[in-house]
């Protein structure tokens, strides 16, 4: 059994227009059958860290329903535990909704965990990481905190609500907001490894310093006193922090070579099954370059898209470069390009909705267009 317990934070600082009105980012669908939160939970489960706290800040229904008892994450139901944690009270002002506020309101519950270390990971980022290896290295290094980052070369065009690490070798000098002033940056992956005792200390200090402080803020504040070690993450990395980043993450993953890098047999990504039947392709269907979940009925054309389960695409309809979420119905002859179409939406026959690929469109949950 690992020496650490896990915390998955709710990342209240990121806002995804439209989509997030209906569920937290952790509950966003990835490739039709996964949710963003499946990645951190599977990372923990595969790392043998099976005592987990998942913090949910708002609209918990879909996330709670998806996670359930956690059995599908291969977490032993007797030895392990997957606990959903809700903040004690809703703050009236958005600025007070920090991850520190959520942790502080459950501080007794953090204190009670028997493990010496804690690994903290975000619920809004898609990546694979062996947290146990990270933990071993951290313990051997003797540092106070290990922080995970990813080197990117397009920080001017994304990661707008992310932080970057200012590095000196593998030492962290500061954690500052990405102001999109340069392309090459070490984007912070909101992943920390430290002792439980230090986390408790940081929560108290953060609250004493400013009620607007997040965990990253207090660590940055104390950068002069703490030994902060940075570890570079390699491989697929996608923070879901805007509609555009969500859209492009799905577009990237609809390519088999990219998806196969993230989904490998030695590191399974677990999810809840919906027991849908396979997908039926009818006469006249034309499907290329796409990822298609089960339970769909396809009579039209699908190109460069990800289609979630239970979607119906009528005859003569075209879906091009779209992210189509579950149970969407697309009418005969409709034409959709560069859209994120939320769950249960219905597109009327013959409708044409086209957006620029740089500014993908969004069609609301249960909307009738």
């Amino acid at each position: 059994m690992a020496k650490a317990f896990g915390i998955i934070t709710s990342s209240p600082e990121h806002k995804v227009a439209g989509m997030q009105d209906y569920r937290p980012i952790g509950a966003f669908s990835i490739l039709g059958r996964y949710r963003v939160i499946d990645f951190p939970i599977s990372n923990f489960s595969n790392s043998g860290i099976i005592n987990l706290q998942v913090y949910i800040s708002s609209k918990p229904r879909s996330l709670a329903a998806h996670i359930g008892t956690g059995r599908h994450y291969n977490i032993n139901s007797k030895r392990g535990k997957l606990q959903l944690v809700f903040p004690v009270e809703e703050e009236f002002n958005q600025i007070y909704r920090t991850n520190i506020a959520a942790l502080a309101s459950n501080i007794d519950y953090i204190e009670r965990q028997s493990q010496e270390y804690v690994v903290i990971a975000p619920s809004c980022m898609v990546f694979k990481q062996d947290f146990d290896a990270l933990l071993q290295d951290h313990a051997e290094s003797g540092s106070d905190i290990t922080l995970l980052y990813h080197n990117v070369d397009d920080a001017k065009h994304g990661y707008s609500t992310c932080n970057e690490l200012k590095l000196d070798g593998n030492r962290v000098k500061a954690i500052v907001p990405n102001l999109a002033d340069e392309d090459n940056k070490a984007i912070f992956m909101e992943t920390f490894v430290m002792k439980k005792a230090l986390l408790l200390d940081l929560i108290k200090k953060a609250q004493a310093t400013s009620s607007m402080y997040s965990l990253a803020n207090i660590v940055n504040h104390l950068a002069g006193e703490l030994d902060l070690r940075a570890v570079e993450h390699k491989g697929f990395f996608a923070p879901i922090t805007s509609l555009k980043s969500y859209f492009f993450t799905q577009m990237r993953l609809s390519k088999y070579e990219i998806a196969s890098e993230l989904f490998t047999p030695d590191w399974p990504i677990y999810t809840r099954t919906s027991d849908s039947a396979p997908t039926r392709y009818f006469e006249g269907a034309k499907v290329v370059d796409s990822m298609i979940s089960n339970g769909c009925k396809i009579k039209g054309t699908v190109e460069g898209s990800t289609i979630a389960r239970g979607v119906e695409i009528a005859k003569g309809a075209t879906v091009k470069n779209c992210v189509v979420l579950a149970y969407v119905k697309i009418g005969e002859g409709a034409y959709l390009e560069n859209q994120v179409i939320d769950k249960y939406a219905t597109i009327a026959p013959g409708r044409k909705i086209v957006a620029d690929i740089e500014q993908p469109g969004y069609i609301k949950h249960s909307d009738k267009v």
Partner: protein, 375 residues
């Protein structure tokens, strides 16, 4: 249904030898069907959806895979308190030696102790190798209303087919007055589907009496039903309408898969009110490549399609390479068809590899080709 009012026993011991190499290593109920299912998922899901809590699965032939599969009762939601799926293989007992199941009825007889431990009022006996959806609770209602000792599910078949089945001769109230096993000249077209509800105490008494009869076939159709009829017990027929298929041969298994491609298939695997549950594969959604072409197909998650698929059913994790063609065929789980290969009117067994540019099957073959080895 009250908890454990009716217990289900699924007969899953048969080899299914007419499926040839497909059942060399697995029992027929474990054979894959419909992209993501195994045949035994149908009776098990029907039980779960009908509100049955305890299901015994009687296995015998090549049962390792089948046993480990059905033991995961949670797959069908049969893992709540006082509920479960139990694998029952022949076992050595204190008062009897180890004996294989000598017939369908003997399989039940050898597990009387198991059934008694739940003290059910009714026993549902099912076959593990039929594809259909049925609400057994409705059948139980019919059984109770008729005050029957046994209720047998029947469906109308054509006169030609009738000679292959156990045929029930009924009166105007669907009371069974006679029974004929595979008659040369059928007197009725109501075929037994091998689905029985018995009053457990009545059945138990007959099984105990039959146990030591050296001339008995220990079979429900040949022994138990005639015995009940001769004893003057009330037997009723429960008429079933809908899709039902005994996939006993390669041709019929292929056909049952092809049925999923037609509109008039009333199996309705996508009906959310009566789902068929199965083991979920940890796999990506189906990936359809840039040069793929799909025309009438049933494709499940984990598949990678880069070639052409026409009028075919593709099972979990199967891969179709660039320029490959799959026509009127069934690719079972894990099949790999390399670039340029052509598969026509064939059923390709689990994990078989069809190498580059190979040709399997032909459009004008009368029978469906079973490809069970790499080529």
């Amino acid at each position: 249904m009250k908890q454990n009012e009716m217990l289900a026993m699924i007969l899953a011991g048969g080899r299914g030898s007419r499926l040839h190499d497909l059942t060399n290593k697995v029992a027929k109920p474990a054979v894959a069907y419909g992209g993501k299912y195994r045949i035994v998922d149908f009776p098990l899901s029907n039980c779960a959806n009908s509100g049955i809590d305890v299901v015994g699965v009687l296995t015998q032939y090549e049962s390792v895979l089948l046993n480990s599969y059905v033991a995961k009762g949670g797959l069908w939601g049969l893992d709540t308190k006082d509920s479960g799926v139990f694998v029952l293989t022949p076992r050595e007992k204190a008062d009897a030696g180890l004996d294989v199941y000598r017939g369908t009825a003997d399989a039940i007889t050898q597990n009387i102790d198991f059934i008694d431990s739940y003290n059910p009022k009714y026993l549902l006996v099912l076959s593990g190798d039929h594809i259909y959806k049925m609400n057994y609770d409705k059948m139980l209602d019919c059984h109770k209303k008729a005050g029957a000792a046994a209720t047998i599910a029947v469906m109308p078949v054509s006169m030609e087919e009738a000679s292959r089945f156990g045929i029930m001769i009924t009166d105007e109230n669907d009371k069974i007055i006679d029974f004929e096993e595979k008659p040369a000249h059928p007197r009725s077209t109501l075929a037994s589907m091998g689905i029985y509800i018995f009053d457990w105490q009545k059945l138990r008494a007959i099984l105990v009496a039959d146990k030591d009869d050296p001339d008995s076939a220990h079979d429900f159709g040949k022994t138990i039903i005639p015995t009940l009829l001769n004893a003057g017990e009330t037997l009723v027929a429960f008429r079933f309408e809908g899709y039902w298929k005994d996939v006993g041969t390669i041709d019929s298994l292929w056909e049952a898969n092809m049925d999923l491609l037609t509109d008039n298939n009333d199996l309705q695997l996508d009906d959310p009110s009566w789902k068929i549950y199965t083991e979920d594969a940890n796999a990506l959604p189906a990936y359809i490549g840039p040069d793929a072409s799909i025309d009438v197909a049933y494709i499940t998650q984990g598949c990678v399609i880069e070639g052409e698929v026409k009028h075919s059913v593709i099972f979990t994790g199967a891969k179709v390479g660039k320029g490959a063609k799959i026509i009127d065929s069934v690719l079972m789980p894990g099949v790999v068809v390399e670039d340029g290969a052509v598969v026509t009117r064939a059923l390709v067994a689990d994990n078989v590899k069809i190498s580059k540019d190979a040709v399997v099957g032909s459009a004008d073959s009368k029978e469906i080709l079973l490809q069970a080895k790499d080529i």
